[in-house]
């Protein structure tokens, strides 16, 4: 039987497949992010607000705030109010408080998540402390604002949203500078 490919060519092609699949493994990382964005899963919030700023006076949505420390994080961290009742289209503000009780400067990063996940795409933050890292000096306490808009297109069956933050200690990764750069 005639051979379609010499062994050398065959092995070259198979090695190419191996390299391509190795690259594909890494390609799964951006694909995952794109899929999460496209389907509004994973609680990742939407980008800047694009729609009209008209406030929907007829509708009310409860937004609950949660703050959690990741394992090993010692800061006191929490929202000033447990929940707000907001109107879609309106700009709202809530303050979170963080306090560093240790005697060392520390750096933290907050990671947000919105649930139910199908509502995440309709939750727009215009200002958030999670956009940057927080540096707190020993014993320092700060109030950090979050400004957000709930989209007018939010599905009608969603009446209750949760905005959850997990606070991570990233001091080892990003050593804090001595002066208050926060």
């Amino acid at each position: 039987m005639s051979e379609a490919l010499s062994t050398r060519r065959l092995v070259q092609r198979l090695l190419l497949v191996v390299v391509a699949m190795f690259a594909f493994g890494f390609l799964l990382v951006p694909i995952y992010d794109v899929m999460c964005q496209a389907f509004g899963i994973n609680g990742k919030t939407a980008g800047a607000y694009q729609g009209s700023q008209q406030v929907d006076e007829a509708r009310q949505v409860r937004v609950q705030f949660l703050a959690t420390n990741s394992a090993g994080m010692v800061w006191e961290f929490g929202p000033k109010a447990e929940e707000l009742t907001v109107k879609p289209g309106a700009t709202n503000e809530i303050l979170f408080v963080a306090y560093n009780p240790t005697d060392k400067p520390m750096t933290a990063q907050a990671i947000p998540s919105v649930s139910p996940s199908k509502a995440a795409a309709y939750f727009h933050k215009t200002e958030c402390f999670c956009f940057t890292q927080q540096v707190l000096q020993p014993g320092e306490r700060i109030e950090m604002p979050v400004r957000f808009i709930v989209d007018r297109d939010l599905p009608a069956d969603v009446r209750h949203l949760t905005l959850a933050y997990t606070l991570f200690d990233i001091t080892a990764r990003q050593p804090p500078v001595a002066h208050n750069g926060g």
Partner: protein, 531 residues
């Protein structure tokens, strides 16, 4: 193993040496597919005993509720290493060993297509497993995050030895990929004249498909451990939520490798059983073509079902439905295979020598494992089954009487060809029955405790599970001890026994039975004619 010098007068070149070299260097430097196959099989058996002894530690600890023998930290290392060693050290190398021995004989090739690479891919394995097992003796212990090494357990919270684990996985991956390339090149380029693709024995077919699975997913495994390495040492955040990564991403990438991996461990067994059942039914295999297509269909489906391992991580409803239905779809080609095996036996002149016993047990018990797989595929039910002993029962039913029984059946079936002697049939049957009883005693009660809510990977359990766990442990000890009988049978068979004819099984079919037993060191130097 004694090698018989090929007396074929067709060889003119005198620089062409016929027998194996002498001494230890024969094994280090060999490029002979039979030598390398033998080394793979012995290596795999050593790893089987090592991984098995870890299972014995696990079962000894679980013999009674409470902590008696080992601490939870060490228990975690045992479950992790047991899984890793059995998957990458025992099952996969055993099939590569069988492929090395049998594929050239089955397709009428003189050797594997890339003999030097073959040698290298074997010798990477002892290096990889020495690296992996050595971590048990390091301060902080070996890998303790489960064989699935989910991040952040395996990154943020991992012991220091995780870096050695990562390099060990890299080495195993390179070894498997080279082995797979070799198998593909051999099958596609070295078949005897007349051996068309659709005339190949099913073992060759299933290995060809397995090899493609290997080169498709082992690089993804290499990728995921590389990402772990970068997260741990180079400050990236692939799986670190604090840096914008996502631990769930790890599970997606891992299972994109992991699900095809479970078929890598079972497809070659399908092929071997498809040779053995016709031989002892004295009938040709029923539905050869459908077997080939069913294997290909299973391989294809294995790429689109990975998220059924992660129903509980919070994937959207449409995702749950898609992965549930896709998973259930796998039952269709698998059902075709089981139907074909049963139909092959139907009205055959059956005899039950040891390979046939293992093969029939394979069909029955693998089907039980398949059914519990279907139960796990039901997404809403999986929320209860997830991470319980029911999952442990399921995958041990497909891997022990599936992969391992397939390997035992193959070993008994081809031992006469490898050694030139018949194995001891009485002892072989004893090995089968003790394995069969021990294995069912060990794993069947796990279904019950799992459904009742006993979590996996925990060294202690609620009192209500005590009786079933004791039964499981007794079964596991029986199964474990029985494998020394297998070792004895194999050594006895190598050292002597009734001389085996070229074709010891009257119903067997295939080119491997046209060469003498034991198979000469060089076979098919001139390709055979296949009509």
């Amino acid at each position: 193993m004694s090698a018989v010098i090929d007396t074929d007068t067709g060889h003119a070149g005198h620089d062409h040496h016929h027998g194996p070299a002498k001494g230890l260097m024969r094994w280090v430097l060999t490029t002979n597919h039979k030598d390398i196959g033998t080394m793979y099989l012995w290596f795999s058996f050593c790893m089987f005993l090592l991984g098995g002894s870890m299972a014995m530690v696990i079962r000894a600890e679980l013999f009674q509720p409470g902590l008696q023998i080992v601490q939870p930290e060490f228990f975690n290392q045992m479950t992790t290493m047991h899984g890793l060693i059995m998957v990458f050290g025992a099952v996969m190398p055993a099939f590569v060993g069988l492929a090395n021995w049998m594929i050239p004989l089955m397709v009428g090739a003189p050797d594997m297509a890339l003999p030097r690479m073959n040698n290298f891919s074997f010798w990477l394995l002892p290096a990889a497993f020495t690296l992996l097992v050595s971590t048990l003796f390091t301060e902080g212990g070996g890998p303790n995050f489960g064989w699935t090494f989910y991040a952040p357990l395996s990154t943020t919270y991992a012991p220091e030895s995780v870096t050695f684990f990562i390099f060990a996985i890299h080495l195993m991956g390179i070894s498997s990929i080279m082995g797979a390339i070799n198998v593909i090149a051999t099958i596609l380029n070295l078949r005897a004249p007349g051996m068309t693709l659709m005339k190949m024995p099913l073992f060759v077919w299933t290995w060809l498909i397995t090899a493609f699975l290997l080169i498709a997913v082992m690089p993804v495994l290499a990728g995921v451990v590389t990402m772990m390495l970068m997260d741990i040492h180079f400050g990236t955040s692939f799986f670190n939520a604090a840096g914008g990564g996502d631990p769930v991403l790890f599970q997606h990438v891992f299972w994109f490798f992991g699900h095809p991996e479970v078929y890598i461990m079972i497809l070659p067994a399908f092929g071997a059983v498809s040779s053995i059942i016709p031989a002892f039914s004295r009938k040709p295999l029923f539905g050869y073509t459908s077997m080939v297509y069913a294997t290909a269909a299973i391989a294809f489906l294995s790429f689109i079902v990975w998220a059924h391992h992660m129903f509980t991580v919070g994937i959207p409803l449409t995702g749950e439905l898609f992965f549930m239905y896709a998973t259930m779809l796998i039952a269709v080609p698998t059902g075709v295979k089981v139907f074909n095996w049963v139909s092959t036996m139907w009205q055959g002149s059956l005899t039950f020598e040891t390979p046939m016993l293992f093969a029939v047990a394979f069909v029955i018990l693998f089907t039980i494992g398949g059914f519990s797989g279907l139960m796990l595929a039901i997404a809403p039910a999986d929320f209860q089954y997830h991470d319980t002993y029911f999952v442990v029962a399921h995958f041990h039913y497909v891997l022990v009487p599936g992969a391992i029984f397939g390997i035992f059946a193959s070993a008994y079936y081809w031992l006469p060809k490898w050694t030139g002697h018949m194995y001891d049939e009485t002892l072989g049957k004893l090995h089968f029955w003790l394995s069969f009883i021990g294995m069912n005693m060990a794993f069947f009660p796990m279904h019950f405790v799992g459904l009742a809510g006993m979590p996996r990977r925990i060294p202690d359990y609620n009192l209500q599970f005590a009786d079933f766990n004791m039964v499981s442990s007794i079964g596991a000890f029986t199964f474990g001890a029985t494998q020394f009988l297998f070792l004895f049978i194999v050594i006895k068979c190598i050292r002597g026994g009734k001389p085996a004819p070229a074709k010891p099984w009257d119903g067997a079919d295939g080119l491997e039975w046209t060469v003498p037993s034991p198979a000469p060191y060089h076979t098919f130097s001139t390709p055979p004619e296949v009509k």
